[in-house]
């Protein structure tokens, strides 16, 4: 009976300390060490599993008539990202009266990494990447792939980091509708979908609109594609729209991603955007001003 009571007490103490400590507490430190030690095993698992992922894709694509569905999806993702990027560049150029010209919209300061595994539990949407503090990564840094933003680092060890995906229900990121500049917070849902919240009823949003990062949180550069609006609903007398968004890109295993290590002043939200967000949310909503992919941490 004594070991039982002792183990229960230790578990409760661990849980209490974990919840109360910050991101750099001793329990996080121990986890960081364990993660560093176990990363090679995860990488081996990722390498071994990659052919099976390909087999799974082949089976799911067997009904495609000529080109495989994965190729079409990839092409569609690239094109949508390209459209978002070009549209954003055009609007920026217009607003700044051609000052920026054809300068690349995303001149990101970033570090390349590779996804080496998914979440170990069923309750969270995270992926692990093969870079950590040794490569200069820190908690809070934004992560994107070729299609756009995918998440934010919530745990970091020496050689690996855990990225909480946008689809995780504890994730929230400042976003806006590219066409109308209506601003809100894109949050993950329990079923893995995305919802753009705090879009006021007087905003202009319609199905097919592209949702991009607003840059207000200072974590994600402004203009990264996040997804496409799939439905817009509003209950009678409701202050906000219920906007469902389909994620622009999925985090696939073994995929290369970019960790954005710093955001320049040009890539952050402008004073106009901040003023617009404040005006939109004045008196009716919490200002959509912070990117947070890990409210629990």
């Amino acid at each position: 009976m004594r070991p039982f009571i002792i183990c229960c007490m230790i578990s409760l103490l661990l849980l209490t300390f974990y919840i109360r400590e910050g991101e750099t507490g001793p329990i996080h430190g121990v986890r960081s060490v364990v993660t560093t030690i176990t990363t090679p095993v995860r990488m081996v698992g990722s390498i071994v599993a990659s052919p099976f992922h390909a087999v799974g894709n082949v089976i799911s694509n067997v009904t495609a008539p000529q080109e495989t569905l994965s190729e079409l999806r990839q092409r569609n993702e690239q094109l949508t990202a390209e459209v978002a990027k070009l549209t954003e560049a055009e609007k920026t150029a217009e607003r700044l009266e051609g000052l920026l010209g054809l300068r690349s919209t995303y001149s990101l300061e970033s570090t390349a990494a590779r996804i080496v595994g998914g979440s170990s539990d069923a309750w969270s949407h995270t992926v692990m990447i093969d870079k950590g503090t040794v490569d200069g990564l820190e908690v809070g840094m934004a992560v994107c792939n070729s299609g756009g933003a995918i998440g934010q680092i919530v745990e970091v060890s020496a050689t690996s980091s855990t990225v909480r995906l946008l689809t995780d229900e504890t994730s929230g990121i400042s976003a806006m509708v590219q066409r109308s500049r209506a601003q809100g917070i894109l949050q993950g849902q329990p079923d893995g979908s995305l919802q753009l919240n705090y879009i006021t009823a007087d905003s202009d949003v319609s199905v097919g609109d592209i949702v991009i990062t607003s840059g207000l949180g200072g974590v994600f550069p402004k203009g990264l594609p996040l997804g496409t609006v799939t439905s817009v609903n509003r209950a009678s007398n409701a202050t906000y729209y219920t906007v469902t968004v389909r994620a622009q890109s999925l985090a696939e295993n073994n995929e290369e991603v970019l960790v954005i290590t710093s955001v320049s002043a040009e890539q952050a939200a402008s004073s106009e955007d901040v003023a617009s967000a404040n005006a939109q949310s004045a008196g009716v909503a919490p200002a959509p001003a912070a990117d947070s992919a890990g409210k629990n941490d």
Binding site: C8, L14, T16, Y18, A49, D121, T170, P190
Partner: protein, 184 residues
């Protein structure tokens, strides 16, 4: 006549623990079915518990849970608590029955897995890490339980094939139990 070999049994336990740890690290993150994921630490602890004495079962539950928590982006301490309690109860109610693959052991382990996964989902909901109780319990919890039960079958079969031969000196159960295999 087969001779009881405690050193061999210990070696086999270590091997099973290592296999479960490798599976948890390498395989579990790669597989997700119907919103659930394998948790080989839950499988390891709960399949070992019926064959162990209470103290060993409790320690197996605690350390399995701790390993899971330290290798996943989850609150540290929750899974050790649940597995400690589950292994304690499982070891208590299976006292004298022994481990191995049987309908009774499968039922007990399956129910324990379901309860652990549901309790885990509920605890995450209470901690504010899950916003939907329905998804936490009926999607993630239930699907993970089904996967864990499937993973438990080889563990129990392996356990029954390597189970130490019990005789009158079997201290672990505290019973004067003698298996048929030792009488061959």
């Amino acid at each position: 006549m087969e001779v009881r070999d405690p050193a061999r049994a210990r070696r086999m336990v270590v091997v099973v623990c290592l296999i479960a740890a490798v599976l948890q690290l390498a395989l579990a993150p790669q597989l997700s079915l119907f919103g659930g994921r394998f948790n080989f630490m839950v499988v390891l602890a709960l399949t070992m518990a019926p064959a162990c004495d209470i103290k060993s079962a409790v320690l197996a539950g605690f350390f399995s849970g701790l390993f899971f928590d330290l290798t996943a982006a989850v609150p540290v301490g929750l899974m050790p608590l649940l597995l400690t309690v589950a292994c304690f109860v499982l070891s208590m109610i299976s006292h004298g029955m022994g481990g191995g693959f049987s309908a009774t052991s499968m039922r007990m382990v399956g129910v324990a897995m379901l309860l652990v996964n549901l309790a885990y989902g509920f605890a995450l909901f209470l901690l504010g890490l899950e916003s939907s109780l329905l998804y936490a319990l009926l999607v993630h919890g239930l699907a993970s339980s089904v996967l864990d039960v499937l993973a438990a079958v080889p563990f129990l079969m392996f356990g029954s094939s390597t189970e130490s031969k019990k005789g009158f000196t079997a201290r672990s159960k505290g019973t004067r139990y003698k298996s048929y295999t030792s009488l061959k």
